[in-house]
């Protein structure tokens, strides 16, 4: 078990900043998801942690050992890390048992002990009786479990999971995700889970680090990330949030404030350091919007279109006086509003995005 400390890590590919001053602290035994769209630098970060690439600035420590600095680079062979690769990377010329035993053989573990541990690892992933099979003869989910058993048999201090569910069928994903969660609970290993799927990250992780364009945007618990995004990108990326300009009129001491949203008064949540300002931006969720009578207080919008999503509609509207400001919400079946119908929306909640720190 070990802490992982990533401090101001920068990685350049030519002039391109694949990682730009990234700092993340992962606690011992924590399940940390690293979430971001493809190309955000999350795989580059994983390769830095594993030691496959050298960094250009900053420091990575596993436990108390600095494994990557500009001057010093511990090769991957010596980092005592386990990785489950996206492609599983099972060796096709070896049986399941040989795949799992490889790390033990390398470490010089001899046979009764080695066989016992391989057997135990296979039992743990519920693959007893598969020891002599070849990877090619296994299903996707079984291959995934072999990869997991192979990674854990050497009891690594830190386990990196690189989009481990991306290659599985949808119906298998939930089951495997459960398996990871149980696994983490049982072993207590520090786990870093790379994914672009926020539902997966939300379901599994203790905390989530959101990355975009090589930068770390926010590290927070799943609920905090959803309720209190640190900036507009996170607000837009997580949970399909709407980012709108608001005027913060008055800040109350309890982390709430009074705002004006296109002339509509809304009570919103904010940080304790929030100041009154006319150019703030707020993040709204679809669930924060409610259709009310046209005469009731609220924001007057017009329907742009309704998209059927199976059981409900995603309703897209724009604010009547500001056609560039779009709002979306869900409406249950049956739903029969023609485009351009007027709709009055009551905003019940919102989060004022903290202003960027003054540079």
């Amino acid at each position: 078990m070990a802490r992982l400390t990533i401090e101001h890590v920068t990685k350049l590919f030519g002039a391109f900043r694949a990682l730009d001053d990234v700092s993340i602290e992962v606690n011992d035994g924590e399940f940390m998801a690293i979430l971001g769209p493809s190309g955000c630098g999350k795989t580059t970060l994983l390769r830095q942690i594993a030691g496959f690439d050298k960094l250009d600035a900053g420091r990575i420590c596993i436990g108390d050992t600095a494994v990557s600095t500009v001057e010093r680079h511990v090769p991957p062979e010596r980092r005592r890390i386990g990785i489950v690769f996206q492609s599983y990377a099972l060796w096709p010329h070896m049986t399941v048992a040989e795949n799992v035993a490889y790390g033990l053989t390398v470490a010089g573990v001899k046979d009764p002990e080695r066989m016992r541990r391989v057997q135990a690892a296979l039992t743990l992933v519920e693959l007893d009786g598969f020891a002599e099979r070849r990877p090619a003869a296994l299903s996707g989910g079984q291959r995934q479990r072999v990869a997991l058993a192979r990674c854990l048999v050497t009891e690594p201090a830190l386990v990196l999971l690189d989009e481990p569910l991306a290659n599985l069928d949808v119906h298998l994903r939930a089951a495997m995700a459960d398996e990871f969660a149980r696994f983490h609970a049982r072993t207590g290993t520090t786990m870093i889970y790379i994914t672009h799927d926020q539902a997966e990250a939300m379901a599994l992780a203790d905390r989530i680090a959101v990355m975009d364009k090589g930068r770390l945007l926010q590290v927070a618990t799943p609920s905090q990330l959803h309720r209190e995004p640190a900036d507009e990108t996170v607000a837009g990326f997580i949970g399909d949030g709407m980012v709108l300009p608001v005027d913060v009129r008055a800040v109350h001491g309890d982390g709430t404030c009074a705002t004006d949203l296109y002339g509509h008064r809304v009570h919103m949540r904010c940080t304790s350091s929030q100041k009154t300002m006319s150019t703030a931006r707020a993040c709204l969720r679809a669930g924060d919007l409610r259709i009310v009578e046209l005469s009731a207080p609220g924001v007057r919008t017009r329907v742009v279109r309704a998209v059927y999503q199976g059981g409900y509609f995603r309703l897209e509207t724009h604010i009547e006086a500001h056609p560039e400001a779009l709002l979306h919400l869900t409406a249950p079946e049956p739903f029969t509003l023609a485009p351009d119908t007027a709709l009055q929306l009551l905003v019940t909640d919102g989060w004022v995005i903290p202003a960027p720190a003054e540079d």
Binding site: T65, V74, P75, R78, S87, A89, W91, Y102, G103, T154
Partner: protein, 568 residues
């Protein structure tokens, strides 16, 4: 550096990397540099005497002219045959494709000197075959193949498969959509071939032409068998005659001749590069290969034409060779009572040099193949996955011993190894080891190319998964990477074995008593007038070659696709 930061891993990496750099440098840079040095500074002293003497000799320019005439002529014949056959095989719906490809590619795998010998048995006054059917010309009339035209025709036949293979590989990458878009626009198949297929196939065609030209230029076996009797000398045979007649004393002169022929080859490769650089031929999409055009009522005639070509080019000469190997002496007609296996008995069990040659050729080819695999697996690892800059530069020089004519490498090797090796004090010249060195240097690329493409098809995480468990480089190479690239490496090794087994160009210049190869013995039998022994020995090498090629057809799955040219 303390051990915790991976001192041992670094040492292992660097030792292997620099070891490979050293090996590649010794195999390619050292001999070629030594050859160039000899050209300007014979025996270590700067002098233009040898250079002037060779370049002012009319013999040099006659041979150069002959080389260019036969190389261009052979290329034209090869391209005409190879391109038409490639188009028919890749684009149309003819039947029995795999069997045809096997037969058509066969001349490439059979030694040029054997092809030459077979054709000589087909024509001429003493042709056993022609005698049997009563068509043999009168005794004393010259064999029509002993001429420039003969050399050109045989070079064309020998290297048509080269053009065929490069073009077919190109046609396989031609996306279906490009052709279908043309069809959808209303173009006829013929218009599509003319306006879409041919323009896009320019790179493989140009590459095939260049490859074919350089191969024709460097060919020794065909001009040696057909040109020397007619005193029609090309540069490789001129070099051979000088060296065989006068020994190492003329090394400086033949070094200059080697530089001349090497320069022509380099010029050819450079022109190819220049032509391809001027336009953008990149094919953007990848998809299924094109669906064959239906020949309908032309299918049968085309099939008959193709098989007729195979029979004329391959079967008839081989039958002529076989018949000659069965007569007691040249000129004796073959009948039930004259037919004999005595020639085989003689070369297999009586003639000492022939017996030795079997052992030598088998040993040299197998050893070279194994050593090349041992070199190329880690070499390709550093080239493809580690992207070592130093090795990438060396990779280009590693191509040279193969791209350049074989005589160039042979002369360079003599220059390097004539003097005793430093420290050891023994000279490799006049031993079998100098031939082994040349085989490894020359055929390294044959093994390297498939292994490199093998690495490109492998998922590197397979290696990283082993690395992360703590396995160091040598262990990963042995337990993970070698098993994964084994199919391509084996296929490459087989190609090396067959090529080396049938080789003559290098060994003709480097053999010594006790270190004869099969090619050398066939050559000396023929030169000594023992055509029946030559035919018997040549038939045996053909049998071994075909047997090995056929055996690969039954190992589907074990050997990688796309490495062995005769497998569809």
């Amino acid at each position: 550096m303390t051990d915790a930061t991976g001192g041992r891993e670094r040492v292992e990496d660097l030792t292997l990397l620099w070891g490979l750099v050293g090996v590649v440098a010794v195999l390619s840079v050292l001999p070629l540099a030594r050859l160039l040095l000899e050209g300007i500074a014979p025996n270590g002293q700067f002098s233009t005497a040898a250079l002037t003497r060779v370049l002012s000799s009319p013999t040099t320019w006659t041979a150069t002219r002959h080389s260019l005439v036969t190389a261009f002529g052979g290329t034209i014949v090869a391209v005409a045959i190879g391109a038409v056959v490639a188009a028919l095989i890749a684009l149309t719906d003819i039947r029995g494709r795999n069997a045809f490809v096997f037969c058509f590619v066969l001349p490439l795998m059979i030694a040029p000197q054997v092809v030459a010998l077979a054709w000589l048995q087909l024509f001429g006054p003493s042709s056993t075959l022609l005698k049997m059917i009563g068509l043999a010309p009168a005794m004393g009339s010259p064999n029509p193949l002993y001429s420039a035209e003969g050399i050109i025709a045989l070079l064309g036949v020998q290297y048509a498969p080269l053009v065929f293979l490069t073009l077919r590989a190109g046609l396989r990458t031609l996306p279906q959509e490009l052709v279908e878009a043309g069809l959808a626009a209303g173009a006829s198949p013929f218009t599509i071939v003319r306006t879409i297929v041919v323009p896009l196939m320019t790179p493989p065609l140009v590459a095939g032409i260049a490859l074919c030209f350089v191969s024709c230029l460097g060919n020794f076996g065909i001009p040696a068998f057909l040109g020397i009797p007619a005193n029609y000398l090309v540069l490789p045979t001129l070099i051979y005659q000088r060296l065989a007649g006068l020994g190492p004393s003329v090394l400086s002169e033949v070094a200059v001749l080697s530089v001349v022929i090497g320069s022509i080859a380099v010029l050819g490769i450079y022109l190819q590069d220049l032509m391809l650089r001027r336009r953008d031929f990149r094919i953007t999409s990848t998809s299924n290969p094109i669906r064959p055009f239906e020949l309908v009522r032309w299918r049968l005639p085309v099939e008959i034409a193709l098989w007729t070509l195979t029979v004329v080019v391959l079967m008839l000469p081989l039958i002529a060779l076989l018949l000659t190997s069965l007569v007691p002496a040249l000129g004796v007609p073959l009948t039930a009572s004259t037919a004999t296996l005595a020639n085989y008995d003689y070369v297999l069990f009586e003639h000492a040099a022939a017996k030795r040659a079997f052992v030598n050729s088998f040993g040299l080819s197998a050893t070279a193949a194994v050593i090349i695999v041992v070199i190329t697996v880690p070499l390709a690892y550093f080239l493809v996955w580690r992207r070592s800059r130093l090795l990438r530069v060396l990779n280009l020089t590693a191509e040279m011993p193969y791209a350049l004519p074989g005589v160039v490498l042979a002369i360079a090797a003599i220059l390097v190894f004539l003097k005793p090796l430093p420290l050891l004090g023994v000279s490799l010249y006049n031993t079998i080891w100098i031939i082994l060195f040349c085989y490894i240097a020359r055929f390294l690329v044959l093994g390297l190319r498939p292994v490199i493409s093998g690495y490109y098809q492998l998922d590197r995480t397979l290696e990283e998964a082993a690395q992360i468990t703590g396995a160091r480089l040598l262990r990963r190479l042995r337990t993970i990477i070698l098993p994964l690239v084994a199919p391509v490496a084996t296929a490459g090794a087989l190609l090396i074995f067959l090529t080396a087994f049938n080789e003559l160009t290098v060994s003709a210049l480097l053999w010594s008593s006790g270190a004869e190869t099969l090619g050398v013995v066939v050559f000396s039998f023929q030169q000594g007038g023992d055509s029946t022994y030559a035919a018997a020995l040549a038939m045996l090498t053909v049998a071994v070659t075909i047997a090995l090629m056929v055996s690969t057809l039954f190992t589907t799955g074990k050997l990688a696709q796309g490495v062995l040219p005769w497998r569809g």
